[in-house]
């Protein structure tokens, strides 16, 4: 299958520290890829490079055959490259309904309209309600974000990403900080995402990664050290060394 999203030979240094070292990843529609690696491996930097929040020193990012390396974050979103944030970035004074409505309006190019309230547009409201309903946020739709639980805020992050109808979705630790009892809800939300959407997820929760991902890429010290099937990852010597260091032989990983 032709690749939808491709990162080629991406490099980034902060001062003398190499945080991204010649990283290449390619994704096809429908991919479910997990990007894992020890703390400080450069996972979030990688996301920031791909989304345009940081500029790489060299390398290319292409989306649907178009080189987007020099584009800003907003232009990449227009082309279908959407991300969520590791630490929730929501508008504390707004309601979930407003968040999702804003995302829908933005996608449709109507967010600059200066007349009329969004609730007056039936087609917008139907879509907003459907998304909120799917993520179990419908009953909370009129509360301010700062009044809802953290797990629900994480779901709202996913809801906003869905409202943008991405072609490629980058999820930066979607379950970070969420109590164990609520991760099922987030997993269900991830499972309900469109089948043809390419998803790259970063997470530390290996159970979640193994249930979700069809492919795993391991990043260590800015370098890709493994790209393959989930079942092979724990047996890989370099992965074991990266995670366990000199204790690699002492016990089993994960």
């Amino acid at each position: 299958m032709k690749s939808l999203f491709e990162v080629r030979n991406l490099n980034k240094k902060f001062g003398g520290l190499v945080v991204t070292n010649d990283v290449s990843i390619s994704m096809a529609p429908g991919d479910r890829l997990a990007l894992i690696g020890p703390n400080g491996a450069g996972k979030t930097t990688f996301i920031n490079l791909v989304t345009g929040n940081l500029q790489p020193d060299s390398g290319d990012v292409t989306l649907g055959g178009e080189n987007v390396t020099r584009l800003g974050p907003a232009s990449r979103v227009h082309r279908g490259l959407v991300r969520s944030f590791q630490v929730t970035r929501l508008f504390q004074d707004m309601t979930p309904e407003e968040h999702v409505a804003l995302a829908v309006l933005q996608r449709e190019g109507h967010s600059g309209r200066m007349f009329g309230h969004y609730s007056g547009r039936a087609e917008v409201m139907d879509e907003v309600s459907a998304i909120l309903d799917r993520l179990g946020l419908f009953d909370l739709r009129h509360l301010k974000v700062r009044e809802i639980a953290y797990g629900q805020q994480r779901l709202l992050e996913i809801a906003m990403a869905m409202a943008l109808k991405p072609r490629v979705l980058l999820l930066d630790e979607p379950a970070a900080g969420v109590p164990q009892s609520e991760t099922a809800r987030i997993e269900a939300a991830l499972a309900s995402l469109p089948a043809d959407l390419a998803i790259l997820m970063i997470d530390h929760d290996m159970d979640l990664v193994f249930r979700f991902a069809k492919r795993v890429v391991v990043l260590a010290a800015g370098t890709v050290i493994f790209d393959g099937l989930p079942k092979d990852v724990t047996q890989n010597a370099r992965v074991r060394e990266a995670y366990l260091g000199s204790y690699a032989d002492a016990g089993s990983a994960a």
Binding site: P73, V77, F91, A103, L105, Q106, M114, H117, M160
Partner: protein, 334 residues
């Protein structure tokens, strides 16, 4: 199923509530206008000036309260409107008051575009410095271009025509006042629609998290610049009203002091609310009229002390604190 049923009921009532709120605001402006006319018939000039400044304060609220840009140079937009209307009347013979207002609106919007273009390039301290430099630059330019602006003597002999040939601008300022009240009601209604529109929502988002706005595919800079132009139009209408009613435009309309005082009025009333902006203006200017008549030297000290007191004791402003208090009272029985 239950949920979607609930939605069909909730939505129209919500829309209705919002529309009502705009209508109530307009009614409040008209009633307050009438009350002002009945209570202070000898002071209509002050009340008209209050309305003009209220539009400046509303325009600051758009960029500071809704978008989070701290500016100390907003009088540039007001002054541009005032000089625009004044110059149109004196040098180009455009003396129809509505046309003068339109010129003021355009001049304010243009000044908003220019100062927004300059100020929005930077952030934090640099942005603040740019906003102060902009108002000084406008002031110096108007002072230098005395052929057009009258320089430090001010631009005088602005003589607006009668309204529709029927309502003369009389010595007591009844016509100018009535015009001001109507203008304010129109501006308020337009802004009420604006702030609850998708664009208004986007602006609030820009204030809270610009990185999230970019991740949604929107450009904060474009939102801010558009808001600056709208803000300029509103301030420009205020400036034009001031020029029409006082029939003179002075350099003080382009001063740092006016910028700072208008910001004080906004903070006094409460940022991020159109009502707060108007309440702050009325309270501040009534206060000023009473106290500065006694001693203009003490006036600046009092403004300073007031500002410190608001920061320390009522950071949400009069309207914001009252609204928060009302919210707490309402929630308690539930």
């Amino acid at each position: 199923m239950v949920a979607s049923l609930d939605r069909t009921i909730a939505t129209p009532s919500f829309t209705r509530r919002m529309a009502d709120r705009g209508v109530i605001g307009v009614l409040a402006i008209l009633v307050a206008g009438l009350a002002g006319y009945l209570l202070m018939p000898n002071n209509l000039a002050l009340l008209t000036q209050m309305i003009a400044v209220a539009m400046l304060v509303l325009s600051i609220d758009l960029v500071t309260g809704y978008c989070g840009v701290a500016t100390l140079g907003h009088a540039a937009l007001f002054g541009a409107g005032a000089y625009g209307a004044g110059i149109a009347a004196v040098h180009f013979g455009i003396t129809d008051p509505v046309a003068m207002t339109a010129v003021g609106l355009l001049a304010g919007a243009a000044a908003g575009l220019v100062s927004g273009f300059v100020i929005l390039r930077a952030h934090g301290l640099a942005q603040l410095v740019l906003s102060i430099a902009v108002i000084h630059l406008f002031h110096e330019a108007a002072n230098k271009a005395s052929g057009w602006t009258g320089g430090s003597d001010g631009l005088s002999a602005i003589t607006p025509d009668a309204f529709f040939g029927a309502f003369e601008f009389d010595l007591w300022g009844v016509t100018a006042y009535a015009y001001g009240v109507i203008l304010l009601a129109v501006v308020f209604l337009a802004l009420q629609i604006l702030v609850r529109s998708p664009f208004g929502m986007l602006a609030r988002g820009v204030r809270q998290d610009q990185i999230r706005i970019a991740a949604m595919g929107a450009s904060s800079h474009s939102v801010l610049l558009r808001m600056y132009v709208i803000s300029g139009a509103v301030a420009g209408v205020g400036g034009a009203l001031s020029a029409i009613s006082t029939q003179v435009v002075g350099l003080d309309s382009l001063s740092f002091t006016l910028s700072a005082e208008a910001l004080v009025m906004l903070v006094l009333g409460g940022t991020g609310s159109l009502y707060g902006a108007m309440i702050g203006t009325v309270v501040f200017m009534l206060f000023e009229d009473t106290l500065s008549a006694a001693n203009p030297f003490h006036w600046l000290t009092i403004v300073g002390a007031l500002l410190i007191a608001v920061v320390l004791f009522a950071p949400k402003g009069l309207y914001g604190s009252a609204a928060a208090f009302a919210g707490r009272v309402r929630r308690r029985p539930a």
